[in-house]
């Protein structure tokens, strides 16, 4: 596996790169399309609810005007207005609720579809894609980014819609009430927009810095506390506390700087609103005195003015969230655009009834432009054992990547039973092999599910048979629920060696004619290692085997040994031949008997 990793966080957080909005909206529309009728309904409910909400103050004002403190109030009229008001507010609340539920339904539907699509795309991407990325980055697209898009759809879109209706509606109504008073907002609205924009723009980088510093601090804590024992062993407590203090101070300073500015915006918006209120009061009162307006009209106007200035600020605030939602959506769509594994070659057929003869001729390969395997040739007959040896990181997995078609060669051919594997379907080539790797892969599920992986038809007897053969049966029966015990990361105590035995048992259920095996069993005690060795021996019987070998006995008895160095095969032959040649292999071999 190539060592290099591309940290896509580096590019994603730069943020300077122009987001292709057109591209994002085009793709987003595809997801919205099935929901268009419902979306229209949601919009309609939202607009209706908001409009009704706007009618409220108008009716209120009318009702207030009917109040005659001096006497002569028409209670019939008041009651009429009150009934209308109750109906209007009730209907408005109902519509608001319905539109929220509909948007919730739509956004969840879209989120679900996006997740399924991204996952489906991941499942056809070449293995290389995963080798080059951190699992965390992929997870954050699937969970965090898609969530951001969903939230933005469910909330932000509706808020913008509602705010626009409120702004236009209340503006129109205020104009009908007192066109002159509206002039007040010609002063205050631009003021508040400029103010919020100014603050948001200044505060965003500060908040980014604040999260970065907090992340740094948390990273340091995680690191140092994990190594607390080492710190104590080296009397290093004072030093790490000093280092922590520096990061702690920085984090708090960044926090304070961001918050100083961030907490200004609330009171500032409040100020502008209060100024509007004061101006409306003064001019409203003056107009009343001059006889141009009624007290009820002033009260309606005041209520509308509240509905008017709030949404303007809300829209200004939401723009920032839209930006991040669009950036998130772009990351999602970029994954969907990744090139899947190339289709099988035209006319590719199933590789069937495999005997297990492998011929590799003139093979060149590199993960990048740089070739790591050059002109490699190998001929293995059915049932033979090939041992692959070399340092850690010498490229032993490269051969496996090529055999299993996780990667395809740059030049040369790999033949199985004389057939070029490029002319066979990928899945049939992979089925011809059984793989037992060092990183034992178990998933959260029962023991039996893990062994029968993805094959619900496998009978319990068969599962038990292979577990007995792999010498793990008695361990499993001692688990709380036996074969139905759910394996989770922390719940059950399954050691590394036992995990390996479980994957061997899984491999035994498969009847592939060829086997790929990683012998590495570091951190496993000797007795378990012996059991594993025995189980592997059983598994290997009668199969063509490619073994990443760590045991001398395997290597000595192999039909062929491939010696890897710096990614390339440097020697090949039997144990005796290679020792006689006195090359890299003999050096490796003798070093373990040196008595230092």
């Amino acid at each position: 596996m190539p060592e290099r990793r591309i940290n896509i966080h580096d590019t994603r957080n730069l943020g300077k790169k122009k987001v292709d909005k057109k591209y994002v909206f085009r793709n987003l529309f595809r997801y919205l399309k099935p929901f268009l009728p419902l979306l229209a309904l949601a919009f309609a409910a939202n607009v209706a609810g908001t409009l009704l909400n706007l009618v409220g103050p108008k009716v209120c004002g009318m009702a207030i005007d009917e109040i005659k403190p001096a006497g002569g109030t028409d209670f019939g009229k008041i009651g009429f207005y009150a009934a209308i008001l109750a109906g209007v507010y009730g209907a408005s609340a109902l519509f608001e609720y319905l539109s929220a539920v509909a948007m919730n339904y739509i956004s969840r539907g879209i989120v679900k579809k996006m997740r399924s699509d991204v996952f489906a795309r991941l499942s056809v991407l070449p293995v290389q894609y995963f080798d080059n990325r951190q699992a965390g980055d992929i997870i954050s697209v699937l969970s965090y980014d898609i969530d951001t898009v969903g939230e933005s759809l469910a909330n932000d879109v509706m808020i913008v819609l509602k705010s626009s209706v409120l702004i236009i509606g209340s503006l129109a109504l205020m104009l009908t009430l007192a066109p002159l008073l509206v002039l007040v907002f010609a002063v205050t609205v631009p003021l508040s927009v400029v103010l919020t924009r100014f603050i948001v723009r200044r505060v965003q980088p500060l908040f980014r810095k604040r999260s970065a510093k907090l992340g740094e601090l948390n990273g340091y804590v995680e690191e140092i506390i994990t190594g607390q024992k080492t710190t104590r062993a080296y009397n290093c407590e004072k030093k790490v506390i000093e280092d922590f203090e520096v990061k702690n101070r920085e984090a708090i300073d960044a926090y304070a700087r961001a918050e100083y500015l961030g907490t200004i915006s609330g009171p500032c918006v409040g100020l502008v609103n209060n100024i509007s209120l004061a101006l409306v009061s003064v001019f409203g009162a003056i107009m009343y005195i001059r006889g141009g307006i009624s007290p009820g009209q002033i009260s309606s106007f005041v209520l509308y003015s509240r509905k008017f200035s709030g949404p303007i600020n809300e829209i200004a605030n939401i723009m920032g969230e839209f930006q991040s939602a669009i950036a998130a959506a772009e990351r999602v769509f970029r994954v969907l655009e990744e090139q899947p594994e190339k289709d099988d070659a035209e006319g590719a057929t199933e590789l069937k009834d495999v005997e297990g003869n492998v011929d590799i001729e003139g093979l060149d390969f590199g993960y990048t432009d740089k070739l790591v395997v050059k002109n490699f040739n190998l001929h293995v007959k059915k049932g033979q054992v090939v041992a692959i040896v070399g340092h850690t990181g010498a490229g032993k997995t490269t051969i496996i990547n090529l055999l299993m078609r996780f990667y395809d060669p740059t030049a040369g051919v790999i033949k199985i039973d004389g057939r070029d594997i490029l002319s066979c379907t990928r899945s049939s080539v992979r089925r011809a092999f059984t793989m037992v790797l060092q990183d034992t892969w178990l998933f959260a599920g029962t023991v039996a599910e893990n062994i029968a992986y993805g094959n619900p038809d496998v009978a319990r007897e068969d599962v038990e048979r292979v577990c007995k053969a792999a010498k793990i049966h008695s361990f499993i029966t001692k688990l709380p629920q036996g074969y139905d015990t759910v394996l989770t990361e922390n719940a059950v105590n399954v050691s590394k060696g036992q995990k390996q035995l479980l994957t061997i048992a899984r491999a035994m259920l498969l009847s592939s004619p060829m086997l790929i095996l990683d012998e590495a069993t570091s951190n496993v005690d000797t007795r378990t290692e012996q059991i594993i060795q025995e189980a592997m021996g059983k598994l290997m019987e009668g199969k063509t085997c490619f073994v990443i070998a760590h045991r001398l006995s395997t290597i000595k008895h192999a039909d062929k040994i491939l010696v890897m160095k710096d990614g390339n095969v440097v020697e090949q032959g039997t144990h005796a031949e290679l020792l006689a040649a006195g090359g890299h292999y003999s050096e490796l071999y003798y070093s373990q008997f040196e008595s230092f």
């Binding site: 009702a63 207030i64 109750a86 009171p267 004061a278 892969w441 951190n523």
Partner: protein, 570 residues
């Protein structure tokens, strides 16, 4: 909670000033509707005043409103600033003490708390406490003042109308409370499904080769779709409930308004009073929504603060005492040692051995047989239950910890590397010079690859040393143990990822370059300890064989068996 809040004490003045200003700001805001009402009712509609007088008064009162607005602004901004300052400083102090305390916990305490839990106490818990303090100081004071003030003003204006208002407030509170409470388990379910989705993704990324090999992609997609579907359904349910709260609360207040108008009409209240009450309604509604958010923050913050306090309460003093000495002349000596991690069954039974200065002790045995426990006792990460551990003839419990551990250079099993330079990782706070570091890297067989790194010993490691291979990491850890030529070198299973050739070179360098250091080497491979002066074979907490390689081959069946397996004897 009490102890946590005690951290605010040094900033008591700042906090108090902030609260006073907050109070002033809130009161100023409450005056606004009052003035509005006065302008419209008592000035504009006052027929006793002439036109000019009216206009003058309106303008003056308008200016007073502006004044109130500015006082509210200034009060809030300055108070917020003071609040940020005091909550920030308080968090800083709390975190510092917590980190310092955590750094000095002994291994038994670390076991009790658990490393992930200690980390989350320092990261998320301290964050939640900060949130709690900052939010409460900023909004927790303002909101009740606004609610209370609003109610008081309302009563001072008109007691009956105020009762309508007062009736709505608890109702809105109740609605918000019930909905929030019922949504908590729903969101808990959402979180669980979310975790499941993340776990499935993780599994599929790490197991991509197995899945592809078995052509199970379609099967995995199906499983994932199931999870995603459940997640969407759960989220829909939770959100549906939550989206009730806003329309309902608004509806209650609006209906209250209707009642208010009706009551006002019946009682013949002036339009101005009704108008002012409308303002109080809006103020109180907003304050209640803010308050409901604060309750969530406080309940989370107080749970966090009690988790933090339990760490701060841990006793980290060193317990040294006087014990009988040992005159065997050994550098390291275990004498009748018994030890148990959990106090129930012994993890180590009757350990009895010793080695002389400069010698090498090799330890081999199955997982869980007590190899690492031996090191834990030797370096006094844990204290023996009975028996004694000696270094230079003195019981380890007589040494001050710092003095004791200065004697050691140790590489533990699964030890850690910092995201820092190679130099810092090898030095590890001991202030060694570059020469010593380079020397240690050479002996640990690491200099070849370190020289190939950009910047050599200044090369920066990634988090968890992700930019190094397993073998490279192990060699850096070994270099750390060797650096400065300590009196005692401990290597706990630290060469397992090295190939035989490198391992052999390391052993040679250890023997030749560190003749004065006493070496303790724990290994799985016989070749790593073959040449030790004393090898002890452990099984389930007991020594089942002790001697040299040649002796053990004859006398210890288990050892002979391991040898046969590993050396490929035929």
């Amino acid at each position: 909670m009490k102890k946590t809040l005690g951290y605010l004490k040094p900033y008591g003045g700042t906090v108090a000033l902030g609260l006073v200003l907050k109070f002033a700001g809130a009161v100023a805001e409450l005056f606004l509707p009052l003035l509005l009402e006065y302008i419209i009712d008592d000035v504009a509609q006052n027929n006793a005043l002439d036109y000019d007088k009216k206009i003058n008064m309106v303008v003056i009162l308008g200016c007073a409103m502006l004044g109130c607005a500015i006082v509210a602004l200034a009060g809030n901004i300055i108070a917020n600033r003071l609040t940020v300052k005091s909550s920030g400083n308080m968090t800083h102090d709390l975190r510092y003490d917590l980190f310092a305390r955590t750094s000095y916990l002994n291994s038994r305490q670390v076991d009790e708390f658990g490393v992930p839990s200690l980390i989350s106490r320092l990261t998320s818990d301290s964050y939640y406490v900060n949130q709690m303090v900052a939010r409460t100081l900023r909004l927790g004071v303002r909101a009740p003042i606004l609610i209370l003030g609003g109610i008081v003003l309302a009563f001072s204006r008109d007691a009956v109308l105020a009762c309508v208002l007062l009736g709505c407030v608890p109702l809105v509170g109740l609605i918000i409370f019930i909905i929030t409470k019922r949504s908590v388990p729903l969101y808990f379910g959402v979180q669980k499904k979310q975790d499941e989705m993340v776990r499935r993704t993780q599994e599929n990324v790490t197991g991509v080769r197995v899945i592809r090999a078995l052509s199970k992609s379609a099967y995995e997609c199906e499983k994932f779709d199931g999870t995603v579907k459940d997640l969407a359904a759960q989220e829909f349910r939770a959100n549906k409930l939550m989206s009730l709260s806003n329309p309902l609360a608004t509806l209650v207040l609006n209906l209250g308004l209707v009642v208010l108008i009706a009551v006002g009409a019946v009682r013949g209240n002036s339009p101005g009073i009704v108008l002012a009450f409308l303002q109080y309604f809006v103020i109180i509604l907003n304050a209640m929504i803010a308050l409901s958010k604060i309750f969530v923050v406080i309940s989370r913050g107080s749970a966090s603060s009690s988790r933090i306090e339990s760490v701060l309460a841990a006793d980290v003093s060193e317990h040294t005492g006087e014990y009988p000495a040992d005159d065997s002349g050994c550098k390291l000596r275990f004498k009748g040692v018994n030890f148990s991690y959990n106090g129930v069954e012994n993890n180590v039974r009757d350990f009895d051995f010793g080695i002389r200065p400069g010698q090498t002790l090799g330890i081999i045995g199955a997982t869980g047989s007590g190899k690492s426990t031996l090191v834990n006792l030797l370096m006094r990460f844990y204290d023996v239950n009975s028996g004694q551990v000696f270094i230079d003839g003195k019981d380890v419990r007589e040494y001050p910890l710092e003095e004791l551990r200065k004697k050691f250079g140790a590489a533990f099993q699964n030890d850690f590397l910092m995201a820092a330079s190679v130099r810092e990782n090898v030095d590890y706070g001991r202030g060694l010079d570059d020469e010593a570091i380079i020397r240690a890297l050479e002996d640990a067989q690491a200099s070849e690859f370190v020289n190939g790194l950009e910047g050599g010993i200044s090369f920066n490691l990634a988090q968890k040393a992700a930019n190094l291979s397993g073998g490279q990491k192990q060699r850096l850890l070994i270099a750390r143990a060797l650096a400065g030529k300590p009196e005692i070198i401990v290597l706990d299973d630290s060469s397992s990822a090295l190939d035989y050739a490198t391992d052999a070179k390391l052993r040679k360098a250890l023997a030749e370059g560190y003749p004065d250091s006493t070496k303790v080497i724990i290994a799985q491979r016989i070749s790593s300890i073959k040449s030790a002066d004393l090898i002890i074979v452990l099984d389930d907490g007991e020594i089942i064989g002790a001697g040299t390689h040649e002796e053990l081959k004859e006398t210890c069946g288990e050892y002979a068996l391991i040898y046969a397996t590993q050396m490929g004897g035929e």
